[in-house]
């Protein structure tokens, strides 16, 4: 029973992104994961870190308004992020969830005299990203794959040292056929089996 936190980010509840989320949840539950789903848009999450919150960002613990999100993050063994790639990375809504929830004493420690953060999410062993790109793989490579680096480097760096990352991406969404979309859903089902 892997404890899985799935975070979904898409403004349109009827998007293809929602279909990818549903396929992922179905596959995870079928194999026996305990899944908690956070739908940031549906929850009306506020992605803006306020001045007051920023003031205390080096204090321990999350802002009370995001305490439940932080508890989910500390509970899970696996994180599944489902989002569309915009401007080569995670949408503002999802970035705001990272900005506000992945804070000191939740995601990292900052010991006195230390110049860098130390991993605290040792509960997390796997991160999966499920994302769609309007542009092609080639364009994304030229752009430096910012969203992929965010997952495989920046977020992974504060998780367990042996954390595996899985990148499930569909490219060329803007010109994709119905068949290519179906194939991507099947790929998600197989990868999370």
């Amino acid at each position: 029973m892997t404890r899985t936190l799935l975070v979904h980010c898409h403004p349109d509840p009827a998007s293809f992104g929602a279909a990818t989320r549903d396929r992922a949840v179905e596959a995870l539950r079928a194999r026996g994961d305990e899944v908690r789903v956070t739908d940031l848009y549906a929850a009306g999450f506020d992605p803006v870190m306020s001045a007051e919150e920023r003031d205390r960002h080096l204090e321990p613990g999350p802002d009370p308004s995001v305490a439940e999100y932080a508890a989910d993050l500390q509970w899970c063994e696996q994180i599944v992020l489902v989002y569309p790639t915009w401007w080569s990375g995670q949408p503002a809504m999802l970035k705001g969830w990272i900005d506000r929830v992945w804070v000191r004493d939740v995601a990292f420690d900052l010991p006195p005299e230390s110049r860098r953060i130390h991993a605290r999410l040792r509960n997390v062993r796997r991160i999966v990203a499920i994302t769609t790109h309007g542009s092609t793989k080639l364009v994304n490579v030229l752009e430096g794959e910012v969203g992929k680096r965010m997952v495989t480097r920046t977020l992974r760096a504060v998780c367990h040292p042996l954390t595996r990352t899985t990148w499930l991406a569909m490219y060329g969404m803007d010109t994709a056929t119905a068949e290519q979309r179906r194939a991507f859903l099947d790929k998600i089902g197989r990868a999370l089996r």
Binding site: D12, M49, A51, R54, A92, G96, S135, G144, G147, R149
Partner: protein, 205 residues
């Protein structure tokens, strides 16, 4: 060597008015003004910009008029007029705060940053932009930022730049290990930023 005056659009995103990052954006502005450029600053926190793209906006994204909010429409017009785009922000988790990401997502749409052709392919439309400038403050040391590959810098100097002319140059200035820098280093960075902005070589379209 300085050149003829250019229209500069500075976009800033940091929560606190009294923060060091605020002083950095003031230095950016001072430098541009010193060189005689025509400067407009969008302080996204101060104007209460909403970063999350709404469902209605997402639905309008592929339409003839994707800028359905008067604020994003006005910002889109500023972008179309700009010859220099300058971004000033603290780097959080390898990238700009959600506030700035959301601004790009909502303002840099079809008709501003690019156009869609009949097959749905994207073509650059920021031919008015002669240079992209980024100035950021980082909590992490330079080596760590490089290891994580600085997503914010890549987004602005690659993804956004791809929508400008082929030879549009970029300028990037960063202050690393922010939290352990002394007053002297911080002051020196402000001077360096102001000086660089006052002496930017005119970019190419």
């Amino acid at each position: 060597m300085t050149s003829s005056p250019m229209r500069v659009l500075i976009v800033t995103a940091r929560p606190r008015e009294d923060s060091y990052n605020h002083a950095v954006s003031e230095a950016v502005e001072r430098g541009f003004r010193k060189a005689g450029h025509d400067v407009t600053t969008l302080d996204l926190y101060a104007i209460g910009f909403v970063p999350a793209m709404s469902a209605a906006e997402h639905a309008a994204y592929d339409s003839e008029q994707p800028l359905i909010d008067p604020m994003t429409a006005a910002h889109g017009e500023l972008v179309r007029q700009a010859e220099v785009l300058a971004f000033v922000y603290p780097t959080w988790w390898s990238g700009p705060p959600a506030m700035l990401r959301g601004w790009l997502e909502r303002v840099m749409v079809a008709g501003v940053a690019f156009t869609f052709d009949e097959e749905g392919k994207v073509h650059p439309a920021l031919s008015n932009v002669r240079r992209i400038v980024g100035v950021s403050t980082y909590g992490a040391p330079w080596t760590y930022v490089k290891l994580m590959q600085d997503g914010g810098r890549r987004m602005l100097t690659r993804a956004l730049r791809m929508n400008c002319g082929l030879r549009t140059p970029t300028t990037w200035l960063g202050l690393y290990s922010m939290d352990t820098q002394g007053d002297a280093e911080r002051r020196a960075f402000l001077d360096r930023v102001e000086h660089s902005m006052a002496h930017l070589h005119q970019g190419r379209r």
